[in-house]
């Protein structure tokens, strides 16, 4: 009899234990569900804003919206309108509405140039007026790698065109330097001839001298015109050359700041890799498989440059 009483007491204790466990489990599940709901912002007070863009590239529903790097909301939905434009609705925490001015702008940025895309709201200059709820904000995309590449290309194309124009102008046999120099040379030769003639004749024949001097004057005038032409062309060419040099100098200056750090980075990366490989080789159990090299011996070569044959 006492055995049966003892059994009933144990069974009741077991039932109580199970009941308590189930209650705790249900409560924990409810707490987790509540946390998820709160985290999802179901009870959060939000305000809607929107913007229009011509492409939904890199914009997805649920994407983070930030102000000054802090998450303040997310993309509620992305819809394609009848006119082919894309309407993007944003849900922003009501607490952060005070940062969104009427001239605020939404910018699509990539973290670290190639990382994930985020939307950043950039407040405008006029802080006196806030954007009303449902306001449509301006939108722009920050420069990505493609844009930077295009920018570099846009910088280089005019320079290449300038160089092509200048080299073309300089090389042109009629209009360029060769033509101008040929004109100057022919004028100088004519002048030399005339001066030689005048030297021979000037003593006896005054009239002839006057005529020759007149001709000389004409030739000098011609030479003056030629030099003037050259004078007109050269400054323009020099200006263009100067522009090209300015471009090149600018690019060089930019490269000076960007290239050496890149090279230094490459060098330090190589050193890091060497260190990592060396560390890995030292780590157990890899070091069991990688033996340290033995002292090196080089093959004998008493004449590595073959100089014996050149003792001529």
């Amino acid at each position: 009899m006492s055995l049966l009483t003892q059994y009933d007491a144990d069974a009741a204790a077991l039932r109580r234990g199970i009941r308590r466990f189930l209650i705790v489990a249900v409560l924990a599940t409810l707490a987790v569900a509540a946390a998820i709901v709160v985290r999802q912002g179901v009870f959060r007070q939000t305000t809607s804003y929107s913007f229009i863009t011509n492409s939904a590239q890199d914009i997805v529903k649920g994407q983070q919206v930030r102000i000054a790097g802090f998450r303040v909301g997310s993309v509620a939905d992305v819809n394609l309108k009848d006119d082919g434009q894309v309407l993007v609705n944003l849900e922003i925490d009501a607490d952060h509405m005070r940062f969104i001015t009427h001239d605020a702008r939404v910018e699509l940025r990539k973290e670290g140039l190639v990382g994930s895309a985020t939307l950043e709201i950039l407040p405008g200059a006029d802080k006196s007026r806030l954007a009303p709820a449902q306001a449509r904000l301006a939108f722009s995309r920050a420069d990505g790698l493609a844009a930077l590449a295009n920018q570099v290309r846009d910088e280089f194309i005019p320079i290449l065109k300038d160089i092509k124009t200048i080299t073309g102008a300089l090389a042109d046999p009629q209009q360029g330097l060769p033509g101008t120099l040929a004109q100057i040379r022919s004028s100088s030769e004519a002048l030399n001839t005339l001066l030689a003639n005048s030297n021979r004749q000037i003593e006896g024949i005054g009239g002839t001298a006057i005529r020759i001097l007149g001709k000389t004057e004409q030739d000098l005038k011609y030479l003056g015109q030629t030099l003037e032409t050259a004078n007109q062309r050269l400054p323009a060419m020099i200006d263009r050359t100067q522009q090209v040099l300015d471009h090149v100098e600018k690019i060089t200056a930019e490269a000076e700041t960007s290239v050496p750090p890149a090279l230094r980075d490459g060098s330090s990366v190589a050193a890091d890799v060497r260190e990592i490989v060396s560390g890995a080789k030292q780590a157990w159990p890899i070091r069991n498989f990688v033996d340290a090299p033995a002292p090196a011996t080089l093959k004998a070569d008493s004449d590595p440059r073959g100089e014996a044959a050149r003792a001529r």
Binding site: L298, A300, G306, A308
Partner: protein, 281 residues
């Protein structure tokens, strides 16, 4: 199946649980790796990189007070400098090595010094060092062939062709059956040059051809170009009609490998025989 799986797991665990090998000191290992990497680069013909790695090895060995390792790396560094044509630098390295090396490396240092001095045309000093080396190499030492080759070069420089030929032929005999292709090529080249100097141009030609065959097999442009120059000189001496072709081959190899000095010598040789500089076919 289950038994074999258990066996496999047991084996893996036993392997992992075995006593790990005691690690070598990291700095010693780094020095050995630098030396080994330099040696690999030297064998590939990348002498500039090899010299940098040997220089690193010297510093690493010196930092752990391993004088033998440092001296050995200095010798490697000197050999790289010689291969780069920087004999003065090699002599500088050898001067520091001589002060710190043990007796085992003394002969190597003397031979390398002589080699650098011959390259700089300091023939008297080279002969002194070779005499000292011969004293250390009494009987037969591992470097006997190299010693004879350097003695042959010194004799050639002193216009003692008969002595040069004797040393070169002795070296050739010592090198027979040994895996020392570089030195065998050098020996044939010296035999050819010595025979040419003694007036035996007909005997010099096959020797030069043998040197060229070895150097081609080893793919050494500087030596190949030098061999073609030598062949050109021999053909010129015997009055063969294809002298210009040999000089042009030397020129083509030198131009392709960027060997300015040999290129100039080949151009001059072509001018000397009244031929214009034309690329070899």
């Amino acid at each position: 199946m289950r038994a074999s799986l258990l066996l496999l797991v047991t084996l893996i665990l036993a392997g992992c649980g075995s006593t790990p090998q005691p690690p070598e000191p990291q700095r010693l290992r780094a020095a050995l790796e630098a030396e080994s990497e330099g040696a690999k680069r030297y064998e590939r013909g990348d002498y500039a990189f090899a010299a940098r790695r040997f220089d690193t090895a010297v510093r690493l060995y010196a930092a752990i007070d391993d004088s033998r390792g440092a001296a050995r790396s200095r010798l490697h560094l000197a050999r790289s400098e010689l291969a780069l044509g920087r004999a003065e630098a090699a002599l500088g390295v050898l001067a520091t090595a001589a002060g710190s090396a043990d007796a085992g490396l003394a002969l190597d240092i003397l031979l390398l010094k002589a080699q650098a001095q011959l390259a700089l045309a300091h023939d008297a000093e080279a002969r002194q060092n070779l005499a000292a080396a011969a004293g250390l190499c009494a009987g037969t030492c591992a470097q006997a062939a190299s010693l004879h080759l350097l003695q042959a070069r010194a004799a050639l420089a002193a216009r003692d062709a008969a002595n040069a030929l004797a040393h070169a032929e002795t070296a050739l005999k010592l090198l027979q059956g040994k895996d020392l292709a570089h030195e065998t090529g050098n020996a044939w080249r010296l035999v050819a040059a010595a025979r040419l100097a003694t007036g035996d141009a007909a005997g010099a030609l096959p020797a030069a051809q043998a040197a060229l065959d070895i150097d081609r097999r080893l793919a050494l442009p500087e030596k190949i170009a030098g061999d073609w120059l030598l062949i050109g000189d021999i053909r010129r001496k015997v009055g063969a009609g294809d002298t210009a072709a040999a000089y042009r081959r030397a020129l083509a190899v030198a131009d392709a490998a960027g060997l300015i000095q040999i290129s100039m010598m080949a151009t001059q040789a072509l001018k000397d025989i009244g031929m214009e500089k034309k690329p070899a076919r």
